[in-house]
């Protein structure tokens, strides 16, 4: 990861490959095949959140008319640009690399497009992308056709910025590497089906870095081959992410970047492992197929959880419950992120009633800690684990007197 960030620094102040900004589940393979250095601003925003720099950068974007009620990734990042701050200084960069083109996919939300257009206006560079259908029940051939045509439509303007023609063989190779990365990442996550789990959701939010910013590269494959081997060895040895694991949870929704450690330590106190999450699974692109690169990229973007309707989402969560043998689901209601908050149309209650699985709604925000209460979260989570423990009918471990 450090090499990746440092390589972005090489683009500043000298001749280099053109830079493309790409939304996290955008058409990264296409950009890599065209020789762009690809920068993922959501990764940057997550770093701002984890470093808690976002708390002082967001208000600068709010003052520019970007509401507190929209994506706090957007406001964190634009605010950081206005403040001249970046966590990338740790890798020798003074600022994120300036884009020659910004490429979005609205399969996750509209905010990425608004975010990119701010920079597009500022730098006078093109902002192009895929305007995706959303809330899909089944993913139809027509849906895939439509997105495929949009991706094909991106090629001429991207070739113009890149100054080169798209090489189909190179694209197929990148898609193949991306698919391999996806498969390895999925295999890493699946090791947490083991009891005790060798890694938790909180570990996953760190280990997913290469799957986000380096998919399609050899570096990502090497990373996940090594990680998978280590996780499999941990399972052989019975090494647990959470010592004395007693309860297993699923995390639905965005991380709370500024409280990763606090929440991880809190759950560890309760001997509770968060063994799977929609968020980490979102970089599994099982549909990618080097034999049909563009169409498979379209399908992969449409099969993601976030693009789907409530029915497929609930069926997906039900599968996860079974695969990972979880005792309950934490739904993070991320205040400014309706698309990543599956709490607002009754899903937690429906899941609890239909499956008998306890669900908890935790109010928070991906980056804005003003919307998160540590004390309330502690009581909520502790109470939730108590409920699971009581339902299991565990006998007392208390030591009276």
């Amino acid at each position: 990861m450090g090499s990746y960030y440092r390589s972005l620094g090489e683009t500043v102040g000298g001749p280099s490959a053109p830079v493309a900004w790409c939304s996290s589940v955008g058409p990264a393979e296409l950009l890599q095949a065209l020789g762009f250095r690809v920068f993922f601003p959501e990764n940057h925003a997550a770093m701002l959140g984890a470093a808690r720099v976002a708390q002082r950068t967001m208000p600068l974007a709010h003052a520019q008319g970007y509401s507190q009620d929209i994506c706090s990734y957007l406001t964190s990042d634009i605010g950081a640009h206005l403040a001249g701050e970046t966590p990338l200084t740790a890798f020798g960069l003074e600022a994120p690399p300036q884009a020659d083109v910004l490429v979005f996919n609205t399969n996750q939300c509209r905010d990425v497009r608004d975010w990119f257009e701010w920079y597009g206006r500022k730098w006078g560079v093109p902002v192009i992308g895929v305007r995706s259908p959303r809330s899909l029940g089944e993913v139809t051939a027509g849906d895939v056709d439509g997105v495929t045509r949009q991706i094909e439509g991106l090629i001429p303007p991207l070739e113009q910025v890149a100054g080169t023609r798209l090489d189909p063989i190179r694209l197929a190779a990148v898609v193949a590497a991306s698919r391999r990365c996806s498969d390895l990442w999925e295999a890493c996550l699946r090791t947490a089906a083991h009891r005790p789990a060798p890694l938790s959701f909180f570990d996953g939010t760190v280990h997913m870095g290469p799957a986000v910013v380096l998919r399609g590269t050899a570096a990502a494959l090497g990373y996940y081959e090594q990680l998978l081997a280590e996780l499999q060895e941990r399972n052989r040895q019975g090494a647990a992410a959470v010592p004395d694991e007693r309860y297993r949870l699923y995390w639905e929704g965005m991380p709370i970047w500024g409280r990763l450690r606090a929440l991880s330590e809190l759950l560890t106190e309760f001997r509770t492992a968060v063994v799977a999450s929609t968020y980490c699974n979102s970089w599994i692109f099982a549909a990618l197929d080097p034999a049909d690169p563009l169409r498979s990229m379209a399908r992969a973007s449409l099969e993601l959880f976030i693009v789907r309707a409530e029915g497929p989402k609930e069926r997906y969560l039900e599968e996860m419950m079974a695969q990972y043998a979880v005792d309950g689901i934490i739904f993070h209601d991320c205040r400014p992120c309706p698309n990543n908050s599956n709490t607002r149309y009754g899903m937690p209650r429906r899941m609890a009633e239909r499956l008998g699985v306890p669900t908890l709604v935790l109010d928070g925000d991906v980056n804005d800690l003003r919307c998160f209460s540590d004390e309330q979260a502690r009581t909520n989570i502790e109470g939730f684990v108590e409920q699971i423990a009581d339902a299991r009918g565990a006998v007392s471990g208390a030591r009276p007197g």
């Binding site: 309760f270 109010d363 108590e386 409920q387 423990a389 339902a391 006998v395 009276p400």
Partner: protein, 269 residues
């Protein structure tokens, strides 16, 4: 006689309840929590034992609940308020039921099955609306003590509404009503109506409803309004402010599983 003690260290007040083996309440005490939580718990514990006419050495176990539960070095174990209010309410009212605990800083809705086991819960968002703090703010605007709101509301004749979700905006709305010449009694009732609507919107309330917590204890007008809003009979158990501490004492007696961290250096689990 074996004694069990529950301590409920809330944001405003710390409560202590001493019970016997058969769960009979022998003594209770309430004190302000303030900044010294351990000191407040000591005062409450001492007061409850004095009221019971018993000694500390007779106590088999002390369990804590409330926001300060992990800070109380006197405790042998802890459980959340969600557990203790549910446990306490279920002792007096058979399930299935829904417990509404309105505290100083938050409001909780707790669902219990026929055996009194928790099925789920909801807490208010990070916001004072629907909590005792809201009533404190309104009393401040009216220039009275919050304890006098209830008496004042009894004199209300005009049904007014405070529609804002936000406590600060509700305060501003109140100022506008004062400027319009509305009577303080009607404004006090409007504050209760606002709080009740906020709580009612937190969850669904099938079956029996039990209201607990200090706010219910000091603002009985709320109970009637809750019943109307929820179209349900709202049951208030004995000593509603003490239900959390009582539930903690029951948890101690029943040997519940403490899932939280150890307290005072001892592993509670």
């Amino acid at each position: 006689m074996t004694l069990w003690v529950g301590l409920d260290c809330g944001s405003w007040a710390t409560k202590a309840v001493v019970i016997a083996d058969d769960a009979t309440v022998l003594g209770t005490a309430v004190t302000r929590s303030g900044a010294d939580l351990v000191g407040a718990a000591d005062r409450a514990l001492t007061g409850a034992l004095r009221a019971a006419g018993r000694k500390r050495t007779e106590v088999q176990a002390v369990w804590a609940t409330g926001f300060g539960r992990h800070a109380l070095t006197q405790a042998d174990g802890s459980r959340t308020e969600l557990d203790c209010h549910g446990r306490g309410a279920a002792f007096f009212v058979s399930g299935p039921l829904v417990v509404i605990d309105i505290g100083g800083q938050d409001a909780k809705v707790i669902h219990l099955d026929p055996e009194g086991r928790r099925l789920g819960h909801r807490m208010n968002r990070k916001c004072a609306a629907g909590t005792g703090s809201f009533l404190e703010e309104i009393a401040l605007r009216l220039g009275i003590e919050s304890a006098d709101l209830d008496r004042l509301a009894l004199e209300a004749t005009e049904p007014l509404d405070l529609s804002s979700f936000c406590t600060v905006f509700a305060g501003t709305e109140l100022l506008a009503l004062i400027r319009a010449g509305k009577r303080p009694a009607d404004l006090a009732l409007a504050a209760y109506r606002s709080l009740v609507k906020r709580v009612a919107a937190m969850d669904v309330f099938p079956g029996k409803v039990v209201a607990t917590g200090g706010v219910v204890a000091y603002h009985p007008t709320l109970v009637g309004l809750l019943g109307k809003e929820l179209r349900a009979e709202v049951i208030v158990p004995p000593l509603p402010q003490m239900i959390g501490a009582f539930g903690a004492a029951l948890a101690a007696r029943e040997g519940a599983v403490a899932v939280g961290p150890s307290i005072g250096g001892s592993d509670a689990d």
